[in-house]
């Protein structure tokens, strides 16, 4: 990605060039994001591009800052510095509502669903449909069923069962489908397959591919390199709060990813020299 200022470019270039610049623009572009908690600097000037129709895997060792970065773009935290561009426009995401208004939906590693509510209730939580001041349960149930069917999430017995009764994979599927139902453009998932069995992981990975095929931008955090190489079109690697590399997945092999995750690529550079 050339480090030129595209907005400046738009200002000076002709209309034809403007269109081309917009097409090349990733859906979400993050530049120079810093974040600290007290004395702990969690992120140092992080840059990242998330193009539409691509799965971007964000890798990094424990404590690298992946979850913090995710929360900075989903409105849970405010970055200290840095810029965020959405479709090329600078935006400020102050809270999770701002993020969902843009079309950013996050499937959190923790605390995503209310166990005591059923699938329909969870999928519409915070955005219930009403008819004459009362909840329009029929309409919501129909829409939820359609979304689940279109994503081939068919293993649940009834969409009126509480999510407490679902398996881990089903819960993740519900959380992800919820994101799709809101016509989101970017879905962020923080370790969606941690704690899942083989079959359930399969379900979730397939679901990610379906989102990508629908033209959504997907960012997935994962420790599991099998998963990463299976679904990712692009790989970005954080090391101690710094973005050390981001490139097409085809440019990586396992060893290279592990190297960047554990040393930040110092070893690679030494080898190259």
């Amino acid at each position: 990605m050339p480090p030129c200022n595209v907005r400046g470019g738009i200002f000076f270039l002709g209309s034809k060039m403007t269109k081309m610049a917009q097409v090349a623009e990733p859906l979400l572009k993050v530049r120079g994001v810093d974040k600290h908690f007290g004395a702990v600097q969690a992120l140092y000037g992080v840059d990242l591009d998330l193009p539409a129709g691509k799965v971007t895997a964000l890798c990094g060792d424990n404590g690298a800052g992946k979850s913090v970065f995710t929360k900075c773009i989903s409105g849970v935290y405010q970055p200290d510095h840095g810029e965020v561009f959405w479709d090329g426009q600078p935006v400020h995401i102050h809270n999770t509502r701002d993020a969902s208004r843009l079309g950013i939906e996050t499937v959190y590693q923790d605390l995503a669903l209310c166990d005591n509510l059923d699938i329909v209730q969870n999928m519409f939580l915070g955005r219930e449909r009403l008819s004459r001041y009362l909840l329009d349960e029929d309409d919501m149930e129909r829409a939820a069923a359609e979304t689940l069917a279109s994503l081939k999430v068919t293993t649940v017995r009834s969409i009126r069962q509480p999510v407490a009764s679902l398996s881990g994979g089903q819960r993740q599927s519900v959380a992800i489908s919820k994101a799709v139902m809101w016509n989101s453009k970017l879905v962020i998932m923080d370790e969606p397959t941690a704690a899942l069995g083989v079959v359930q992981t399969r379900q979730v990975l397939d679901l990610m591919k379906r989102l990508r095929d629908r033209g959504l931008a997907v960012m997935v955090i994962s420790h599991n390199l099998n998963d990463v190489f299976e679904v990712a079109d692009r790989i970005a690697i954080l090391y101690l709060g710094r973005m050390v590399i981001q490139d097409d997945a085809s440019k990586f092999d396992r060893q290279r990813v592990v190297e960047y995750m554990t040393t930040g690529g110092k070893g690679m550079k030494a080898a190259a020299n």
């Binding site: 979850s67 849970v76 809270n95 999770t96 509502r97 969902s100 996050t106 959190y108 590693q109 923790d110 605390l111 995503a112 669903l113 209310c114 166990d115 005591n116 509510l117 209730q121 939580l125 915070g126 955005r127 219930e128 009403l130 001041y133 009362l134 909840l135 029929d138 149930e141 129909r142 017995r157 009834s158 969409i159 009126r160 069962q161 509480p162 407490a164 009764s165 679902l166 398996s167 881990g168 994979g169 819960r171 941690a194 704690a195 899942l196 069995g197 359930q200």
Partner: protein
């Protein structure tokens, strides 16, 4: 807000719980399947209202057998029992708002009593002489404001509801005593009066509705409710949405109709020793109105959905964009307002207010009634109807033991044991998912 620890979901436990926790009407297609699914759920520990209904029947049978001259099931005693229970029912419905959130409100006994004193004082002809409806509105408004203040302290300062409302318990006990001493009533403002305006409050509990009108009113309610249930379920079945089988809908409507007929028939029996006293007491429609209002609010509105969501997972609710502090504050206001209705019924029952009102006992019975009825102490689960059923259980024990001329200490012990049993069932049905009593959250 502290960053929550990252807990990976436990898929094995969820799978094991699955069979038991799926509400049977959601997976069953026919009546037979429904019954089997329900039995499976019972075995799995998800209990619903069955234990409390069984308990109620047991209480009736036992006390009818042992009561002197078998007076327990006499019409006059049953109506009296309902009137005694009504206070517990309404207070339990109040407490349900706090319990669903995983919180508790210990202040509602004395806070509700303050509301009742305000209403009783305001209607007194020799002092303010307010019309009864204005006095009630003022009383309930005062309760709601006091509840909102407690809710604000709980949410904005992050102090556990247990502590804030414990302080409220003492504060409102004091406020009640001060309010009682206002006016020339020596601390005993009462409702026994020839003034028709005052009599409205006096008759809230035991004043009767004409027997014929009782029948008509019951018919309208049952037919209306039955039609709503029948056409609603039929519409959902036609649309291919999750709905119970028609036989089950019919069974539910039938049970409601039978309950309505039995209640009105019992109330219409003459229960006076001399003269005539018959008809449904006003407290019945009042309790039903509170039940209907809070059932619709909790189960059919956005607000109610958010209350359950916060009780289930406050952090998930917050991330869904829900204003958690506002919803919780409103819940405490509604809780206190409902408590005002409850203690107002109590004032109507004893014919006034005095410093004999046991606000501490009332709140404990309210929590007990809600939990006995099936509301969870651990948050996320509970309904207004649970308060009504649990209130009947407590009223039944109270009344039955009173007929045995048992001392109040025995009544306390038995009620406490029943509460302990209900809480144990609640805790067991959660099997390891226990979190806390609102003491550690937020």
């Amino acid at each position: 807000m502290a960053q929550p620890v990252e807990i990976p979901p436990d898929p094995t436990a969820a799978v094991q719980a699955a069979e038991a926790e799926v509400p049977p009407e959601l997976i069953a297609q026919s009546f037979g399947e429904y019954v089997r699914a329900w039995a499976a759920r019972l075995r799995g520990g998800d209990i619903g209202v069955l234990p409390v209904v069984v308990g109620l029947v047991a209480i009736m049978i036992v006390f009818e057998i042992i009561s002197p001259n078998h007076v327990f099931l006499h019409a006059d005693n049953l109506v009296n029992l309902f009137e005694q229970s009504a206070v517990f029912m309404v207070l339990a419905m109040a407490e349900t708002f706090a319990l669903i959130l995983g919180e508790i409100d210990l202040s509602i006994g004395y806070l509700g009593a303050c509301g009742a004193v305000i209403a009783v004082q305001l209607v007194q002809p020799v002092t303010t002489g307010w019309p009864w409806w204005a006095a009630i509105v003022a009383a309930l408004l005062a309760c709601a404001i006091a509840g909102a203040i407690q809710g604000t302290i709980i949410t904005r300062l992050g102090i556990p509801s247990f502590i804030v409302t414990l302080a409220g318990y003492l504060i409102f006990n004091g406020v009640m005593l001060i309010l009682l001493l206002l006016g020339p009533f020596s601390g005993y403002p009462n409702l026994a009066s020839s003034d028709t305006n005052v009599q409205v409050l006096y008759n809230m509990m035991a004043g009767t509705i004409d027997p014929t009108i009782s029948w008509i009113g019951m018919g309208v309610v049952v037919v209306g409710l039955g039609a709503l249930m029948w056409f609603g379920d039929a519409r959902r079945r036609r649309a291919g949405l999750v709905a119970p089988p028609p036989s089950l809908t019919l069974l539910k409507i039938g049970l409601i109709a039978i309950a309505g007929i039995v209640v009105v028939a019992i109330c219409n029996i003459n229960r006076a020793n001399i003269g005539v006293l018959a008809g449904v007491p006003w407290v019945v429609p009042i309790v039903l109105a509170v039940l209907a209002a809070w059932t619709i609010l909790l189960e059919r509105t956005k607000y109610g959905r958010y209350v359950y969501a916060i009780g289930g997972n406050a952090e998930a609710a917050r991330r869904a964009g829900i204003n958690v502090a506002l919803i919780v504050t409103i819940a405490f206001a509604l809780c206190s307002m409902t408590a005002g209705i409850g203690v107002l019924l109590y004032a109507s029952y004893i014919g006034g207010m005095s410093n004999n009102v046991q606000g501490g006992q009332l709140v404990l019975f309210a929590v007990a009634a809600a939990v006995i009825g099936g509301t969870s102490l651990f948050g996320g689960r509970g309904k207004a109807i649970h308060g009504v059923l649990g209130g009947l259980v407590i009223g039944g024990i109270y009344n039955g033991m009173y007929l045995q001329s048992l001392d109040v200490q025995r009544i306390f012990i038995v009620t406490g044991l029943v509460l302990l049993a209900a809480v144990s069932i609640d805790a067991l049905s959660r099997r390891g998912k226990v979190s806390g009593l609102g003491l550690t959250r937020r």
